[in-house]
């Protein structure tokens, strides 16, 4: 690494710098990775300064967790805002690099649809765009890996202290977004730091995307445990090769036996065949599946069975054929029933407007959470969760060979 002074040097060094970053970051203690990232990339970018901002779980604020050369100032920036006023938030939201009026480069840090934050380079040398773009996915991977063995990265990105229930729920939640061949999906529980009754889950394997949205009855730790149990049962079934119907039966059975009808979980489950767009949909209890096509959003009519835990044998799903670009939107009752201070429900119209506001699927649940929060006057009464999946067409088509995270 030379910390080149001319533009060509920065560009030529890209592979060497990223390789150096990976080697050194895997060699230090996990909690020092954020500091190492800016210490390595700052000089390599020939910048006056480099700051690493990580987004909170609510996707509302970006918190400065590392800075070169001076150390983090603890400054925070909102995710929402105009490009001119909040270039870091704009870069994060749009997943696009921004050069602001002061010449700062704001590079979103994301990988495979998993959005972590923004790198902000002050007065970088020429060719810095290329290096930042190449380094950002590596930084995202390093931060995700570091968070697995250190609390520091996790705690510093939080805007609010978590409840115990939220700690439990975030331990079992999958990454909040994914973008791969044939599919884009994203989910979010609002408010993240109080997540209790709601969970979502997804997995993409072998040209199949599995999705689940769960909503336990009751509240507090009892609700969190019931939702966790349902999620564990569904994952067990999925990983054992069970059909969607059998996964539902397993979760229903284990909840009924553990809680004897005392704890039930509403659920919406989808098995999406990425090769042909066929979606198998099951609904248990009050969970809702919406269908979005050509900008129009309506409920997908599914005969709902009783909630999981009711011990019901007789359940039926339905199939729906999606065309490329269509979306399924799974929402918990906390979204549709969120009340404004005047008592108006958020409802389908609220979801429709929030989805129209989102730039892309990866940003859709954030947009829904924000709209529900505003509708409810700042604080939602119950967990409000949405999980959005978009079938982008058969993976063998135009999507094939696409760079992950691109």
């Amino acid at each position: 690494m030379t910390g080149g002074t001319a533009g060509e040097d920065v560009a030529a060094d890209v592979d060497a710098v990223v390789g150096d970053l990976l080697r050194r970051a895997l060699d230090v203690a996990a909690w020092t990775v954020p500091a190492l990232v800016v210490d390595v990339l700052g000089p390599a970018l020939d910048a006056r300064g480099l700051r690493l901002l990580l987004v909170d779980h609510e996707l509302v604020e970006l918190h400065e967790v590392a800075a070169w050369p001076s150390g983090p100032q603890g400054r925070s920036r909102p995710v929402d805002g105009d490009r001119e006023v909040e270039p870091a938030g704009w870069a994060f939201r749009r997943r696009a690099v921004v050069r602001d009026a002061r010449g700062c480069l704001h590079q979103p840090v994301h990988v495979r649809g998993h959005r972590l934050g923004v790198l902000v380079a002050e007065g970088p040398g020429e060719g810095a765009e290329g290096l930042l773009a190449a380094a950002a996915p590596a930084v995202a991977l390093l931060l995700r890996q570091a968070a697995g063995s250190s609390d520091l990265v996790e705690v510093r990105r939080r805007s609010h202290a978590f409840s115990i229930a939220a700690e439990l729920q975030w331990d079992v939640l999958p990454p909040p977004g994914h973008r791969g061949p044939g599919v884009e999906l994203a989910g979010l529980v609002e408010p993240a730091y109080l997540a209790t009754s709601d969970l979502f889950d997804w997995a993409v394997d072998d040209d199949v995307a599995w999705l689940a949205l769960l909503e336990a009855s009751g509240e507090g730790l009892a609700a969190a445990r019931a939702a966790d149990l349902a999620l564990g049962a569904l994952r067990h079934g999925r990983r054992s090769g069970s059909s969607l119907a059998d996964q539902v039966a397993t979760a229903d059975d284990v909840l009924a036996r553990e809680h004897r009808g005392g704890a039930t979980v509403d659920a919406a489950l989808v098995r999406l065949d990425l090769a042909d767009g066929t979606a198998e949909v099951h609904v248990a209890g009050d969970a809702v599946v919406l269908h979005r096509r050509e900008g129009d959003l309506g409920p997908l009519h599914v005969v709902a069975g009783p909630p999981l835990g009711a011990g019901e044998e007789d359940r039926a799903g339905r199939e729906v054929a999606l065309t490329p670009g269509e979306e399924l939107v799974l929402v918990s009752s906390g979204v549709l029933r969120a009340l404004s201070p005047r008592g108006a429900a958020f409802g389908l119209a609220g979801v429709r407007a929030a989805l129209d506001q989102a730039e892309e699927v990866l940003d859709a649940p954030r947009s829904v959470a924000r709209a529900v929060r505003e509708h409810a006057g700042g604080q939602v009464e119950r967990d409000a969760t949405s999980l959005v999946v978009r079938w982008s067409g058969p993976p063998a088509g135009a999507q094939a060979g696409r760079r992950p995270g691109a």
């Binding site: 603890g74 925070s76 609010h160 409840s163 115990i164 939220a166 408010p191 109080l194 507090g220 604080q379």
Partner: protein, 163 residues
């Protein structure tokens, strides 16, 4: 212990401390036995926060009449239960902001109705005249203490630091 054993010098009638314990015991048992099983100081904390305003831990300690470290532990516990939300602003510790969550508001409402039910049950065997007299007496006491407390708290300066 029979009541007359602890009677003060007022002609064998129970003293204020003894009388207050009757009400306090009913309330305490109702609070502890309700679904949320709040402690008295947790309940008091939620009641203070019920106006919906955010507070720094230091301000909360002042209103509860406890030292800041106690208030901090109390808030930690309520945050863990999800009844209270606390900002974790890395920007400035002074901005640390504590407020009631919707779950906290529901716990407060459940506890209040448990107390209401317990007192209704406890007073049910009394004659309606006695019930009215008790209600009137307690209302008068509430008004008297409210008036006594007002001038003292009005001009009180807020705390400068959290801890």
């Amino acid at each position: 212990m029979p009541m007359d054993a602890r009677a003060d010098g007022r002609g064998g009638e129970p003293g204020w401390e003894e009388l207050s314990r009757v009400v306090v015991d009913v309330v305490r048992t109702a609070v502890a036995g309700s679904q949320d099983a709040l402690t008295p100081v947790q309940l008091r904390c939620l009641e203070v926060l019920a106006d919906g305003a955010g507070r720094r831990v230091g301000d909360l300690a002042d209103e509860l009449g406890v030292v800041a470290s106690s208030a901090s532990r109390l808030v930690d516990r309520l945050v863990a239960l999800g009844l209270v939300g606390r900002r974790q602003a890395t920007a400035s510790r002074r901005e640390v902001d504590v407020r009631l969550t919707p779950a906290g508001r529901r716990a407060l409402a459940r506890t209040a109705s448990a107390v209401e039910e317990a007192l209704a049950a406890a007073t049910a065997p009394m004659t309606s005249e006695d019930q009215d007299a008790l209600r009137r007496g307690l209302a008068a006491l509430a008004q008297a203490t409210d008036e006594a407390a007002r001038p003292a708290s009005a001009g009180r300066p807020g705390p400068e630091v959290d801890r």
